[in-house]
Symmetry: C2
């Protein structure tokens, strides 16, 4: 392929990536806004992130995680 074609392809790839990166940045800002809104209503956003992780897990893995978490808490003496 000619140098001209190469340049155009590269620019095209880069512009496609930049468009998607810009949409991604918008989503990240929207997510940040929701956390801020939730925080403003008194929710603990660190715990919200933990809950979102738990909801992502399949039920068996989550069950196992929660069971082990309780066991490990006991083993290291966390009683709360």
């Amino acid at each position: 392929m000619t140098e001209e074609t190469t340049t155009n392809n590269l620019t095209r790839f880069i512009e496609r990536i930049e468009r998607l990166e810009s949409e991604k940045a918008d989503l990240v800002a929207d997510i940040r806004d929701i956390y801020a809104e939730a925080k403003g209503m008194g929710y603990d956003t660190k715990v919200m992130r933990q809950i979102i992780k738990l909801r992502k897990m399949d039920p068996a893995d989550r069950s196992e995680n929660e069971y082990l978490r309780d066991e490990y808490k006991k083993l290291v003496g966390i009683n709360d």
Copy 2:
């Protein structure tokens, strides 16, 4: 507010975040696909990422960056 309302608000916040996180994951996958496509056409994707960073900078900062980069290369003996 009642416990019931609290639960609903929390669930609503979490579901909004999950929806946006899912759109974000789709974009990340799309971006990965474009890099793969570019790589398949022979482009160096590490350098593409450098170019995308340069295009993000304002022209004066970019100029300064490129000037200093050349100077620093000389100072540490990178001649290529």
